[in-house]
């Protein structure tokens, strides 16, 4: 019996990881290798007046030093921005700064040495004179008159403006509504912190006139394309990019980084293999950050709880330069998701993309969608409080119904499928919601601060349909490749353009093949992450691998199956229509005569000998598919959490968490559950602990793991996971994205729970992270009568609004 789709197969990649045999870039050592270290700016904004590397170059073991001008003179192009909405202003972003530095961490000099310790010594000997300039780190302040200006090309620091909806209609809805809930909120900046720091190795071969680059990327094909077309200028057929095992990405490894220009440049200049490995401290100031929105939002409702309209204005911090996908995040992945699970007849959303003296911001797990769900689900929760309705009942009242799919929202997207009532029924059941409410009431009667938080969310995943994404501003289509090569022995190599960095593609993609062709699971190898071994693809992010990459593989399997059926029919002298393919064991037989059969491996070898094939059929057994989905997929979630706040310390204990997700069909439930659990942990991290904190001088105060609080094992209870399945009609597997759901919904679920715990104080909203210090202060000042949260919603939209 072959392994099939839907089974919790243990991961085939695990034996190497549990034995310390992971193939990470930092493990690569090549003969004659030199080591690169990067001198980074200690100033957030400054003119570079003078660079003197002579003392460094005099140090024994130092090979070379290169500046931004050296790279520019050698023809290295600026790092590209790949998502360009109309009228965007894109400032140049060189791999090393040439005239000015624009954030703490901006690279200035690359030094090359015989060993990494010497390279770090050399950094200390490089002298750079700076003339400091005024600094701005806050996206809203950066747009104000008199704010420091980062780039000549970007007047007032506003790189782009993006809006959907009708302003006049929105104003009318707000004016006529019974009730308007208004909120100002900050979705704080996060630092993704994949546990493997980024690394890059490059080897130029004079002999082959070829460059090989090993890089910690979620996206090796796209990086190669950009290196070739934009930065390095090496033709793609002379450039091989390999992303072997990558230790987590969460979006932060999807972009073309400066070091992917510097390290290949160094290899070509020195004629030796070159290696750069980021330290963690360096990662904090050189990996792209995530989130950082300042938002004003209003939800217009009728007194019976019907949602009438949603009005959202966001200032999105882009940092010092535009990272590869940066403008996509607060626009097409954010404004378009503001309808949530609900029928909201009128939505107006607008975003300003703003340059500041901070590390560039780009996609981080969820990327725009957590920010959208945070806006919607915080407003809905406050609305429930104002209307004295159960938060689940208010949500149910506004759900898009199962018979209304495909559902056109007012913000461009067409949802594929879902059953939100059923999903909430399930989470109410597995969390024992009524019991949680009883526990809360009992605790409150004892004076304890216990809260129950509910949230539901939608995600547009499976990015994405090429026509749609190009129309929104993407520079590339977002299809995916999948090739199935059947070797003459019947063994199979699967080549995918997707890239796994923890998601388990080697297992779940092999399940698709085993389940379709009926070959033994052990006979299938999934190859990814090497442009020299796989056809062009678009990589892994936006929860796209299963629905786009998996579907390409499925289609190729079907093509293989069709050819195998034709060959078997020919050899058994039967009509193709009469053939049956038994996918449980890879046998092809004549309908009604199971003994007239051929095994898959027999046909495989027949495509090698090629003397018994139907007339006109080509030999060989290898099929490729480039799958472009007709739409996104729309997974949905319903999560419930309970928290208790210690009034003496302000510390939050997460005491219960139940999650029900609809990710459509599931290939490997164990892997999907793991994705949801990990996603929730990052969501909880944002809600309670994580924040990138800058001071007014642009210094990152939370720049190490001692200062930036990552979730640890003792921060969680055992989480209940449940699932419902409404298959997606937009791909042949029926799957929806699963990798980002936990983060998209987890953050706001926890925030809602904490605010529920604080409801007795009349507090309506606090910005994340909901740290012990913040809650302690909030509780104690509220207790002293300093806070009165009863007035930030209004009738007829006249309220003064505002968060605390």
């Amino acid at each position: 019996m072959a392994t099939s789709i839907g089974e919790s197969v243990k991961r085939v990649e695990d034996p190497r990881f549990i034995q310390g045999k992971g193939r990470y870039v930092a493990n690569l050592k090549l003969p004659g290798m030199v080591y690169v270290a990067i001198k980074r700016s200690p100033y957030a904004h400054a003119v570079i007046k003078r660079i003197d590397a002579s003392a460094a170059l005099a140090l024994d073991g130092v090979v070379a030093a290169f500046t931004g001008q050296d790279l520019k003179d050698a023809g290295m192009g600026a790092l590209p921005c790949g998502f360009n909405p109309p009228d965007i202003k894109v400032p140049p972003h060189y791999a090393l700064a040439t005239d000015k530095v624009r954030y703490v961490g901006d690279g200035v000099v690359a030094v090359v040495a015989e060993d990494p310790y010497t390279a770090f010594d050399a950094l200390e000997l490089i002298e750079v004179d700076y003339e400091p300039l005024p600094v701005v780190v806050n996206a809203k302040k950066a747009t104000e008159a008199g704010a420091p200006q980062l780039h000549e090309e970007v007047p007032n620091n506003v790189s782009f403006y993006w809006a959907l909806g009708d302003r006049a209609e929105m104003d009318k809805v707000l004016a006529e509504a019974d009730h308007v809930v208004e909120l100002e909120l900050v979705n704080q900046r996060l630092i993704p912190n994949a546990l493997e720091p980024r690394a890059c190795v490059a080897q130029w071969s004079d002999f082959a006139e070829e460059m090989t680059v090993w890089t910690t990327s979620q996206n090796p094909h796209l990086i190669r394309f950009l290196m070739s077309a934009v930065t390095l200028g090496i033709p793609e057929n002379k450039l091989r990019v390999i992303s072997p095992d990558v230790g987590g990405g969460f979006g932060s490894k999807a972009f073309h980084y400066a070091e992917e220009v510097i390290v290949p440049f160094v290899s070509k200049q020195t004629g030796r293999p070159a290696k750069w490995v980021s330290s963690r401290s360096e990662a904090f100031i050189s990996d792209s950050h995530g989130r950082d929105h300042i938002t004003t939002c209003k939800l217009a409702i009728r007194n019976d709880g019907t949602f009438l309209g949603l009005d959202v204005t966001t200032h999105a911090n882009m940092g010092g330069y535009l990272s590869l996908f940066a403008p996509l995040i607060p626009t097409a992945l954010y404004i378009t998701l503001l309808s949530g699970l609900y029928k909201i007849p009128t939505i107006f959303g607008e975003s300003y993309g703003v340059m500041t003296n901070t590390v560039p911001v780009d996609a981080y797990r969820g990327a725009g969608r957590p920010e959208a769900s945070y806006v919607v689900e915080r407003l809905v929760d406050i609305a429930a409080h104002d209307l004295k309705m159960d938060p689940i009942e208010l949500r149910r009242k506004n759900f898009i119904q199962p018979d209304e799919f495909p559902y056109q929202t007012p913000v461009a997207l067409v949802y594929d499928s879902g059953d939100y009532d059923k999903m909430f029924d399930k989470v109410v059941e597995i969390s024992d919601y009524q019991s949680l409410l009883q526990q809360r009431e009992q605790a409150r009667s004892q004076g304890r601060l216990v809260g129950v938080g509910v949230s539901g969310c939608i995600e547009a995943s499976g990015v994405g349909p090429s026509k749609a994404v190009i129309g929104l501003g993407s520079g590339v289509g977002l299809w995916e490749s999948g090739s199935v090569r059947v070797h003459p022995t019947g063994k199979i190599s699967v080549m995918t353009g997707s890239h796994a960095h923890g998601q388990g593609h080697e297992t779940s993609f092999a399940q698709i093949v085993a389940g379709t062709l009926g070959v033994p699971f052990a006979d299938i190898e999934v190859i990814h992450g090497d442009t020299g071994r796989t056809p062009f693809g678009l990589g892994t992010y936006g929860s796209r691998s299963a629905s786009v990459g998996g579907s390409a593989i499925l289609r190729s399997c079907e093509k293989v199956r069709d050819k195998v059926m034709k060959i078997a029919a020919h050899q058994l002298e039967a009509a193709v229509e009469d053939m049956v393919y038994d996918a449980s064991n890879g046998t092809i037989y004549v309908q009604g005569s199971p003994d007239r059969a051929k095994a898959f491996a027999e046909i495989a070898v027949a495509t090698l000998t090629a003397h018994q094939l139907p007339d006109g059929m080509e030999p060989g057994l290898e099929e490729s598919t480039f799958f472009d989905p007709p739409n996104f997929t729309f997974p949905s979630s319903a999560h419930i959490a309970m928290v208790e706040i210690d009034p003496k310390t302000g510390e939050v204990e997460l005491t219960h968490y139940s999650a029900v997700d609809d990710v459509g069909k599931v290939i490997n439930p164990m892997i999907v559950e793991g994705q949801i659990l990990g996603g929730i942990a990052q969501g909880v991290g944002q809600a309670l602990w994580e924040a990138a904190v800058y001071d007014d001088e642009g210094q990152l105060l939370s720049g190490t793991m001692m200062d930036y609080t990552l979730p640890r094992a003792d921060g969680f209870p055992m989480i209940n996971i449940g699932r419902i399945e409404t298959p997606s009609p937009t791909n042949p597997l029926g799957v929806k994205g699963a990798g980002e759901m936990g983060t998209i919904v987890g953050t706001v679920t926890i925030a809602n729970a904490v605010m529920d715990a604080l409801a007795p104080f009349g507090l309506r909203h606090l910005d994340m992270p909901l740290t012990a210090e913040k809650l302690y202060n909030a509780i104690h000042s509220a207790g002293n009568g300093h806070h009165n949260g009863s007035s930030n919603s209004s009738s007829n939209g006249t309220g003064n609004g505002g968060a605390l």
Binding site: G22, R280, Q682
Partner: protein, 164 residues
Amino acid sequence: MQVTLIVNGKNYTRDVEPRMLLVDFLREELGLTGTNIGCDTSQCGACTIHLDGQAVKSCTALAVQVDGSEVTTIEGLGTNDALHPMQQAFWDEHGLQCGYCTPGMIMAAVKLAENDNAISESKIRHGLEGNICRCTGYQNIVKAVQAAAQTMQSEAGDEQWQRV
């Protein structure tokens, strides 16, 4: 300076800079790259190894400081044909995703679970506070440690695991 260490049962003598970290010694001098580096402030635990029988973050020691010591790394824990029960449990319980924290997590967990076959969830969670995993949310790691603790005790008489 000359330093001699017994690593995974073998003697190694090398001449190294006094400032060389133990983790760099293992990775760069001995090529034992199973021990990963995840931070530079001793927070993440990715580089956890066993030093004279204790779980230690190998970025916190200089190689010359531990001259003469016995070190076990992930490469010395089990073999492909005979995985250590903790390795097996991480595999069985889906206790890893990207795999980067995994060697350090397993090395820390082995010491935690030793001699405690009924180790509580809370003890595991607190015991692994010094090891960061960004992928799993820890739930399946906790399950793996619980499962392995039982196996390790039932196999306690087995010579194979006595040495680690």
